[in-house]
């Protein structure tokens, strides 16, 4: 059978994803937390794993450099990649929220939104028919409302601690997100057997874990 190439997002979900793969019988022996290696071969030789930055995973999959990707829903939504989103792996669940200072949404005619995810923010407010301006930030987004750079932020929260410690409050929950399995559409068509078998293996583990 053809070899499958997986793109795995670096970061907080990587370890959990690797152990999920292990449970499904897919072993990457030389993989560990602090690894500097970027390419790994599975023990059975059926899989190749690319260890890449999360935001790049949808690109690897959409262009076919990887057949399958494991990455957060937030990144998939932001990238808007034309891929299959086949499984919810249930890992790293957190919330997409709108947060700000008190009643900041009502104050303004035109809302300024700071976010690492301008596309998601725009789509969300478009659905609510609220015109916004977005400011793309790459980190410490909570700062923006505090210094008057933006009215609100759209960001992911796990526990909400950072939001609270900075005196912001959650105004609205946008969506629950978690780690997903995505697939290149051409690979799904031309490597159907290998892809479907891989998905079935993972599905079985997910059902067992529930």
């Amino acid at each position: 059978m053809e070899m499958l190439t997986l793109a795995l997002a670096k970061g907080r979900i990587a370890k959990d994803a690797i152990s999920l793969l292990e449970q499904a019988g897919i072993q990457f022996d030389d993989f560990h937390d602090q690894t500097r290696k970027l390419v790994f071969q599975s023990a059975d030789g059926k899989y190749r794993l690319l260890f890449v930055k999360a935001v790049d995973v949808p690109t690897y999959v959409e262009t076919g450099a990887a057949d399958i990707g494991i990455v957060g829903k937030d990144t998939i939504m932001e990238a808007g990649a034309d891929v299959y989103e086949l499984l919810d792996l249930g890992l790293g669940a957190c919330q997409f929220v709108v947060a700000g200072l008190g009643d900041s949404v009502k104050r303004k005619q035109r809302l300024t939104v700071a976010s690492k995810y301008p596309v998601i923010a725009t789509q969300f407010f478009e659905r609510k028919n609220i015109p916004i301006e977005t400011i793309k930030l790459n980190g410490s987004v909570e700062l923006a409302p505090l210094i008057g750079m933006a009215d609100v932020i759209v960001d992911i929260v796990e526990t909400g601690t950072t939001i609270k410690e900075n005196g912001l409050s959650i105004i609205e929950e946008v969506e629950t997100i978690s780690t997903r399995l995505i697939a290149n559409k051409a690979s799904f068509a031309t490597k159907t057997k290998a892809t479907q078998q891989f998905i079935m293996q993972l599905e079985a583990i997910l059902e067992g874990n529930q």
Binding site: G64, A65, S187, T192
Partner: protein
């Protein structure tokens, strides 16, 4: 202003060109074996044409120009619409099969690396609306891949009406329908469930919609499973049609690389029946897209059922075997001393008439020919006539003798 060369020419621009020509001529030939006649549409089309036809190309994707009267034109963003318009306006459409290999111009909205210009090779077949027509069009599409030695491919076949019908039964709001479409295109079953969950939809319809992405696989298997989610007589007809097409493909011996995908949705809204797309091994995007669009001509006040497809020539070029490329080696290089120019010209004329790829230079223009690699070299000198075939130099006296010898040595090389 200095234009950056790299932006306008791809790295393999030069070596690709002969391959592209060969590919185009092979495709044109294949189209003609099915009775298709080449068709050409203007490169500039009225913007209004594409705005009037619902569900086609997003206005932002079109490249617009303004003529001197202030009218907005677009660079041909699609070929199907102008051909349909042409066909719809014929009182008595004699020819019902058109093929084209033309450039289309579209700018990706948010994709910075997407090309504006691309070549499409395709066909449109008007009448009759029958499974025989559909199957023959699919077989033609597959023949092309086989001609190009792209044997490892998959054709996914679905039906545009299947989803439309279910969406109608569920009475979805347009915004929800749009979301649902995206989720089905992504085979995102979890997402579909949570989208439909708060809505008031009959349980059977809900299950049917949730099943759509799973209806992917071999025709025997999928068509069987799809029976379970049929909600209307119309859907039953559509499934019967797919089955009939598949049986015909079996008769053609062309059913092996077929996959049925009832979750297939094309972004072109004009498709009304069977739709399909083709993937070639190791190419990340579909190289082929097509389907039946029976209502498109109604927008031009005509009833004209039709089916068509287009290949993305650039994607094919990426993958197509370089061994279909004709040899770029020159056949003959003919040099002559200046006092024999007149004879040289009559030699050259005779040889080119015979179809030889030939270049000729006066012997003293060495700069021009010294780097040229040719199969045969011919020299008309002041005192002698020589020709060389792989370093063996022999003399000859008449043109007929030369033609004979050339013919003999090519037949020998062809055999070896």
């Amino acid at each position: 202003m200095k234009l950056p060369l790299a932006d306008r020419f791809k790295p393999n621009q030069e070596s690709d060109a002969p391959l592209r020509e060969q590919l185009i001529s092979m495709m044109n030939h294949r189209f003609s074996t099915y009775g298709y006649q080449p068709f050409h549409t203007p490169i500039l089309e009225p913007y209004q044409l594409y705005m009037d036809v619902k569900g086609t190309i997003h206005p932002d994707e079109m490249v617009k120009v303004i003529d001197r009267t202030g009218k907005v034109l677009v660079l041909r963003p699609d070929v199907t619409i102008p051909i349909s318009q042409y066909a719809a306006h014929q009182k008595n459409l004699k020819n019902k099969r058109y093929s084209y290999i033309l450039d289309v111009f579209r700018q990706g909205e948010s994709i910075p690396n997407s090309h504006v210009q691309g070549t499409q090779a395709g066909i449109e077949c008007f009448h009759p609306d029958a499974p025989e027509t559909d199957a023959e069009v699919l077989v033609l599409a597959m023949d092309i891949l086989q001609d190009l030695q792209l044997d490892s491919f998959k054709i996914e076949i679905g039906d545009a009406g299947f989803f439309k019908e279910l969406a109608e039964l569920a009475a979805l709001k347009p915004a929800v329908e749009e979301q649902l479409k995206q989720l089905i295109q992504a085979k995102n079953i979890a997402g579909i469930k949570s989208l439909l969950q708060p809505l008031n939809i009959e349980p059977e319809i809900r299950t049917a919609i949730q099943e759509i992405p799973l209806l992917y696989g071999t025709p025997e298997d999928v068509l069987e499973r799809a029976q379970a989610i049929i909600a209307t007589a119309n859907m039953r007809e559509r499934l019967k049609r797919l089955k009939a097409i598949f049986q015909l493909l079996q008769l053609y011996g062309a059913s092996e690389n077929i996959v049925i995908d009832l979750g297939l949705i094309n972004h072109m809204n004009y498709y009304s029946g069977v739709i399909f797309q083709g993937y070639v091994e190791a190419v990340a995007k579909p190289v082929l897209m097509g389907g039946r669009y029976d209502q498109l001509a109604e927008q031009f006040q005509s009833h004209l059922p039709a089916i068509g497809f287009a290949y993305d020539v650039e994607l094919l070029l990426e993958k197509v075997s370089p061994n279909i490329k004709p040899s770029d080696q020159l056949g003959i290089l003919l040099q002559y001393d200046s006092n024999r120019q007149q004879e040289a010209i009559s030699y050259v004329t005779a040889l080119r008439k015979k179809g030889w790829k030939l270049m000729t230079y006066p012997a003293n223009q060495q700069d021009a020919y010294e780097e040229i690699d040719a199969k045969f070299r011919i020299f008309l000198g002041t005192t002698d006539e020589l020709w060389s075939n792989s370093n063996k130099i022999t003399s000859f006296s008449t043109i007929d003798e030369l033609l004979n010898r050339l013919e003999q040595s090519t037949s020998v090389t062809n055999e070896s």
